[in-house]
């Protein structure tokens, strides 16, 4: 057990607890930075995919994990960011300008959505965003002049300072681009959480009534949360579009929304680590399944048959197991294991007990 003696305020609000934690994260960072030399092009591409999903997860985490607003419609904002980015590039805007703009535009779209959604709570908000995600599919088809409708859009590489950055031709450069965005978003998120705004997000999540009593403007806080969340998701969408190369109205279906939400629940709601851990699961599950299918096929002598819906079926089972046995997600499990080692032999199960509340309805009839 290590004790951290805090001797000044700066020490209290800085993002890392002590030198040990700082060195751990610096090590992880060094590992990711050396990835282009450690991995071949295929796995580098997979890692890039994981990072893009992590950015999308961070976006949803702001809204769902830290402000407590469940959104089943974030694929709509992924799509918005993706199409905004491509439309701007096609209009002749350089990528370095188009990319930030696509996120900002998505944020504005998010605020427009947030204004009516502010009146909704819990389940109603979930259904509202779900309907939004379904509508986005039709909206993309109807807005054919911009979006290419059912045929979709193709996007090649982009140029940054005269250097080509393309998923297939220059995977290493593309990896640097994605890693840079990931780092910027993550550092921004860490800073957000120790600023008054991030604290007010958490206050709104834990109890709207007490937050209001403490002087938090709930409507404003939720709106800003929507804006930030959608901006980050928009950037993830733009990167996803570049990564995929081709996309149409079905690329960002409602299933992607649900997958995104499931991802951050598996990773651990309410933690930055959760977005990354969940992204690793989502990113590597398909590969893991196809490899294990080959092994199973080899053992039983049958050829590996494709089972439609297998991925989502397994994903659903993992999620059910997590909600039943580890509601805090993978990050919660890691915290428990770490605490067990730190406090050995004084760890008690009750240390992570969650407060339960009994239901009361708002309906009167």
């Amino acid at each position: 057990m290590r004790f951290v003696f805090k001797t000044n305020y700066i020490q209290d609000i800085r993002p890392w607890k002590d030198g040990y934690q700082l060195s751990l994260y610096l090590f992880l960072l060094a590992l990711v930075f050396s990835a282009p030399w450690l991995l071949d092009d295929f796995f580098l591409g997979e890692l890039t995919n994981v990072l893009i999903w992590a950015i999308a997860g961070l976006g949803l985490m702001i809204l769902t994990g830290h402000t407590g607003q469940v959104s089943l419609g974030h694929a709509a904002f992924l799509a918005f960011g993706c199409y905004a980015n491509v439309a701007l590039i096609e209009a002749g805007v350089p990528f370095l300008l188009a990319f930030p703009l696509s996120g900002i535009l998505t944020g504005i779209a998010g605020v427009t959505v947030a204004i009516p959604a502010l009146r909704l709570h819990g389940i109603y908000l979930a259904i509202f965003t779900l309907a939004l995600s379904i509508l986005m599919d039709d909206i993309i088809v109807l807005a054919e002049p911009i979006t290419g409708g059912v045929t979709g859009k193709f996007v090649g590489g982009v140029e940054i300072f005269g250097k080509l950055v393309d998923r297939w031709a220059t995977p290493v450069e593309f990896f640097w681009l994605v890693l840079g965005v990931t780092l910027l978003v993550t550092i921004g998120y860490i800073n957000l959480l120790r600023a008054p705004l991030g604290r007010s997000f958490i206050a709104v999540r834990d109890s709207e009534v007490s937050a209001q009593a403490m002087g938090v403007d709930i409507a404003r806080t939720k709106m800003i949360s929507f804006a930030l969340s959608c901006s980050v998701t928009g950037w993830a969408g733009a990167l996803m579009g570049l990564y995929a190369g081709a996309f149409n109205n079905e690329t960002f279906s409602v299933l992607i929304s649900i997958q995104l939400l499931m991802m951050i629940v598996i990773g651990g709601l309410g933690s930055i680590h959760g977005a990354f851990l969940g992204a690793i699961v989502v990113g590597f599950l398909p590969q893991f399944l196809s490899i294990s299918k080959e092994y199973v096929g080899a053992i039983f002598g049958g050829n590996a048959v494709a089972i439609p819906g297998l991925e989502f079926g397994i994903f659903g089972m993992i999620l059910i197991a997590f909600i039943l046995f580890e509601p805090l997600g993978m990050y919660g499990r890691w915290l428990k294991i770490r605490t067990w080692f730190e406090l050995f032999p004084f760890y008690r199960k009750e240390m992570f007990k969650r407060q339960k509340s009994y239901l009361k309805t708002e309906r009167l009839r």
């Binding site: 009516p116 389940i123 979930a126 509202f128 088809v141 297998l310 989502f312 659903g316």
Partner: protein, 291 residues
């Protein structure tokens, strides 16, 4: 005459939406949670009945298969509550939302594994018979759908407002702790309501499979039933049916009179409009919240 025909087919479709919405409302009324897998329950009920009745599977007579599949779905509903939902007792509502979505994925996967991904129709005694009524041609299935739905809604409405168990369910949702103090076995009441929701889903599935065809993705129809339940206010059984009928009737008229591409948007646009302007549904049951 054309419009009347559209109206009838819209009503029959709307009844199926209404039945799925009834399932949502039942569970919401008694446990204050929403079962996002209700549409997949319906699909499962349809496939269980197809598996029992159709000649390529077990080939039982329809009227013998009916009670068996109803009781299977009741058991499925009860077990889902007993094994999964009950462990979440006291957790937040959003946990139940995410859990039931995941459950829907698993049900879809299992159904695809057992019955395949081809669309299938239920072989039933009503198939292919028409009633001619002053120039209107009504499929006997459509009529059956409307009649069964009406009877079921009335029955459930009376059950909730008149019987002791129904009142106990309402009490359990209004305040779990107080209901428990009053001697209501809250957990068992929840189990019963999930079984009931399973039965309603099975009926919806049978009616749907009788007049159309089902495949494992049919459960996504549940999203349209959300529109129905939200329009109805998510706490009122007649409201759910009315919402279902509204959505069902709007669909064929929209596809007829609005340009293609815009028409399938109509139910969701209606859903968004209702949520924006009347967040608690047209048949609202919520008054000002007291802190």
């Amino acid at each position: 005459m054309d419009n009347a025909q559209l109206l009838i087919s819209g009503l029959a479709n709307g009844c199926v939406y209404g039945l799925i919405a009834l399932g949502f409302v039942l569970i919401y009324k008694a446990t204050e949670a929403v079962n996002f897998a209700q549409g997949d329950f319906m699909m499962l009920g349809a496939f269980v009945t197809i598996g029992l009745t159709n000649t390529e599977y077990m080939g039982l007579p329809f009227w013998m298969a009916l009670p068996i599949s109803l009781s299977i779905m009741a058991a499925v509903g009860y077990l889902v509550d007993r094994l999964i939902i009950r462990r979440l007792f006291g957790e937040s509502q959003s946990a139940v939302v995410i859990l039931t979505i995941a459950m829907g994925f698993v049900i879809r996967f299992v159904a695809g594994l057992i019955w395949g991904h081809e669309p299938q129709t239920l072989q039933n005694p009503l198939a292919g018979k028409d009633i001619r009524f002053g120039g209107l041609v009504l499929g006997l299935e459509d009529v059956a759908v409307i009649v069964v739905t009406l009877l079921l809604t009335i029955g459930l409405y009376l059950f909730f407002s008149r019987t002791k168990l129904g009142l106990a369910m309402q009490a359990a949702s209004q305040n779990q702790l107080a209901a428990y103090y009053m001697g209501i076995p809250v957990k068992q009441v929840q189990g019963v309501i999930w079984a009931l929701a399973g039965v309603v889903a099975c009926i919806a599935g049978i009616l749907f499979a009788a007049k159309g065809s089902v495949d494992p993705t049919t459960g996504l129809l549940g999203i349209k039933a959300f529109a129905a339940a939200v329009i109805g206010g998510f706490g009122s059984l007649p409201g759910a049916l009315a919402g279902g009928l509204i959505v069902g009737v709007i669909e064929p008229f929209a596809s007829r009179y609005i340009a293609a591409g815009y028409s399938q948007v109509a139910p969701y646009a209606l859903l968004l409009a209702v949520l924006i302007f009347r967040p608690n549904g047209l048949f609202s049951q919520v008054r000002a919240k007291k802190v």
